[in-house]
Symmetry: C2
Subunit: 209 residues, 2 copies
């Protein structure tokens, strides 16, 4: 389930109806849109509430607090990455094919760019406990990519590159997409995904031509 344990975490919603789930999803999406644009600290609960046609007190009916809202958005983003990239990619045996799939999938995740950008950029605003949880999940993802590079190296397909630095650099480029990609711009999402993974694969693999 894409929402992870956030409804269970917020005790308000243990017995909540389907409508509440939709409302929560709407709150996350709206908040994410504002947060990604202004930054978490610069975003006030008032702004989020207004965007939802609510007052601040009305918004607090659905969430525990501002930090908890951020954490929920990040868990949501991490769930999406797990579901759309990590889980299917783990099933691919051949490391080269697995790498191609992972890069193309992640670079092409245009629908949830906002949430994933927040996941990448706002970790500092989390509480210590929540930050530990998120960083642990991110570490899984990183290790998966790094392990794939190590496998490729063992097969002699990787250029003369340090797998750790290469993996860090891959994440840098792929997560950077969200900072310049504009859904209403000239560059279509397919082209961006294709070009980015081509650039990365060309840099990572020996003789792709």
């Amino acid at each position: 389930m894409a929402f992870g344990d956030s409804p269970a975490t917020n005790s308000h919603h243990k017995a909540s109806s389907i409508e509440s789930f939709d409302r929560l999803a709407q709150i996350y999406r709206t908040a994410a849109a504002i947060i990604v644009q202004k930054g978490f600290d610069a975003t006030s609960m008032n702004e989020i509430a207004s965007a939802l046609d609510l007052t601040k007190a009305g918004l607090y009916h659905y969430i525990r607090g501002k930090e908890d809202l951020l954490f929920s958005i990040m868990q949501f983003a991490m769930d999406i990455v797990d579901e759309k990239v990590l889980t299917p990619a783990r099933k691919i045996q051949d490391p080269e094919e697995r790498l191609r799939f992972t890069l193309a999938r992640h670079a092409g995740m245009t629908k949830y760019v906002k949430e994933i950008t927040i996941l990448a950029e706002e970790v500092a605003a989390l509480s210590d406990e929540h930050r530990d949880l998120i960083l642990e999940r991110k570490r899984h993802y990183f290790e998966f990519v790094r392990a794939t590079l190590v496998e490729l190296n063992e097969q002699g397909k990787l250029r003369d590159l340090d797998p750790t630095i290469a993996a860090l650099n891959i994440f840098g480029m792929v997560l950077g997409i969200a900072r310049w990609y504009r859904p209403d711009g000239k560059l279509g999402p397919e082209k961006v995904a294709e070009q980015t993974s081509r650039l990365l694969l060309g840099g990572l693999l020996k003789s792709t031509e």
Copy 2:
């Protein structure tokens, strides 16, 4: 001069002495260290003042305000990039050599990582006027890299890549370094710079082996 027009902009310092310049530089560096770690909005003037062994009111003797301080740091960072990367790189005729130089230089700028990270990540916190000025300078840098890729393409040395997307992706990776690089970590600055530009050059250029 590495400080650009910031002392001239702050009318306080029109007739300031050499000591004042040093003090300003110290303020920028101290503020940058805190801002890059906590984020601009989460950093209070009190924290910055304390780190300088000053009170908040004492700090305000040197600067106009918080936003102005941020702008000055960014101008400083942009001056450094101009001086250390852009100006020398422009003198290189051969586009491949120019690209190699630019990537290696930028990726290897370990001394001013903090300031350059702020330049990359805190644009949203600027006033409209200041943001326009900074974005204009960044656009120059971007166009320089993009133009070099176009030249390489005309020489048939570039892979089948869109120069605009490639340039954006280059910046993504290179600016991303600052988010994971730790000066006290295992990975030395030379190795990081060398590995990053190797990965990028391998992805950009045809048959480097």
